[in-house]
Symmetry: C2
Subunit: 344 residues, 2 copies
Amino acid sequence: MSHAKSKATTIGELGEFGVIDRIQRMLGDAHGVVLGIGDDAAAIRPTPGKLLLATCDIQIEGRHFVKAHMSPEQLGRRSAAVNLSDIAAMGGQPTTALVSLALPNHTEARWVEQFYMGLRQALEAHGASIIGGNLSGGYSGIVVDITLHGEIDEPSMLRRSGATVGDAILVTGQLGSSAIGRQAIRAALPTAGAAGEPIRAHLEPKARVQEGQVIANSRLASAMIDLSDGLLADLSHMCQASGVGARVFLSQLPISRDTIQVAKDLNIKPVEAALHGGEDYELILACKGTAADRLIGAVQSDTGTPLTVFGEIIDEPGLRLVQPDGTEHAALPTGWDHFMEHTS
Amino acid sequence: MSHAKSKATTIGELGEFGVIDRIQRMLGDAHGVVLGIGDDAAAIRPTPGKLLLATCDIQIEGRHFVKAHMSPEQLGRRSAAVNLSDIAAMGGQPTTALVSLALPNHTEARWVEQFYMGLRQALEAHGASIIGGNLSGGYSGIVVDITLHGEIDEPSMLRRSGATVGDAILVTGQLGSSAIGRQAIRAALPTAGAAGEPIRAHLEPKARVQEGQVIANSRLASAMIDLSDGLLADLSHMCQASGVGARVFLSQLPISRDTIQVAKDLNIKPVEAALHGGEDYELILACKGTAADRLIGAVQSDTGTPLTVFGEIIDEPGLRLVQPDGTEHAALPTGWDHFMEHTS
């Protein structure tokens, strides 16, 4: 084609098809896929007897990420993680992904390749491969929209609904690190110090895919959701879907030592970051109180990830916060609503 | 939630979850879907024995459409059509869709609902339903990215590859209308006259879903692709995938009388619009010359859509154009490359 010039370095020079050719060569053929990148649609052979899961999540420059703060590989891994986390929240196994990418014409082809390398790496780490997508130029900012498929045995699938009065509420890993990391980046804190861990948590969140599968396969949990909007917002979604409420014990929220220290340096209350921060991509789940220890043990032994009880399901709708001194009050489920100003 | 104010009219006022609630109530539960809108991922039960098809296509304000030229219902139907067309090009049956929508905060909630109504209507007309997606505010322009699933019996699936030397090349419907319609809108031509048909073709392209299925089920075609980038560009994709070339008979290109008239009024050569215009969302396909009449008859009788022979597959790579006087020359496969200026 006339636009496939040699020595081209931007996608405007290479053209849509030039870039697609490069990506296709880079990615190769995905295992188990009947028809991958390069036709009008991709074709896969679903595993007989399993449900197919599907989720999508959009990342917009200036809204969900700042290009200058993130390498293309990091953006790729992050774009994978936010979708992997949704499949994890069902207890599913990620399988295949479609990638929509809209870019300014001045974007370097090398940037696009590095983005795809990060994306592929993060997906492959969980057994998923890229099977299609599209690329569109001439845009003012970067837009990444990924659809991720997964699969699961129907009886293992965990929904948001299903939490029952008396259930314990648990969370994987730790809370508030991503929000503190975002503020640490804005404050230009050095990554060499305590800010390193929260900054990494923000730039490269890890989806709890294996943890979600262990929890689902245990058949001990009654409901599960991933943490994207914030602990209270997402817990509220789970409670509303289940027709229940919840009591949150603030003294039991797992927050890392580094996150606490950096939060204090930034004059942010760590507990506020944990409750409202969002983008932690941990899993919260409900299970019978008597099963909590078994579930904690199973997740710890199979994945090494801590699972912490921080609340209980109650009959009364809404969320109640229990202070360290035992006093209790109603909470508003404010969190990272994508139309609202961030509250932490 | 505190942001679900009464009398709210913009998505900035309603908030992400307020708008999602409205859409969820509006769409209801999709038939045959295990888990639809409202959980971390959707879950579907694939039809045993069938392949699952998946495609995605992004529509960006200012790049793929002008908001002032298009009603929200039209944008919804158009966003559906460009994806339905990809499933049609495989011969597949559309099934389920995920919708990513990024919007400016000042977008009216009514606009979003009307967009979804148009989208749902166009999908349901072909048996597909919306099972999930996401909504993101705070953006400078509208971005619509839709992933559409379909299914097909593997032996019926038509790829881009498979065209064989000597095959006839056919196209459904008519060519160039969308490109002329786009220019007619820019020139503010009245829709009451001859420009009505090309303007409708541009604003509300029809995906050839039923035609694609008739062609695939006939088992008479060797390769198929849909027309999004332009006849020469997409024919070139089909030929490259098949390792062949093609000869195009310019006098045989099907162009509607209205499109020819409006093209001439706009000082555009109709044949240029047909070759390079793009966005016609017709299907081009190859089949043995001896099978062409049977295929034309089957599509005509089952769908009422004309199918026209306009070329033949040749051994020599590349495309050759045959003028009405019989002279022949090589063509460059220029078309609607999304990074390039449009050539027509």
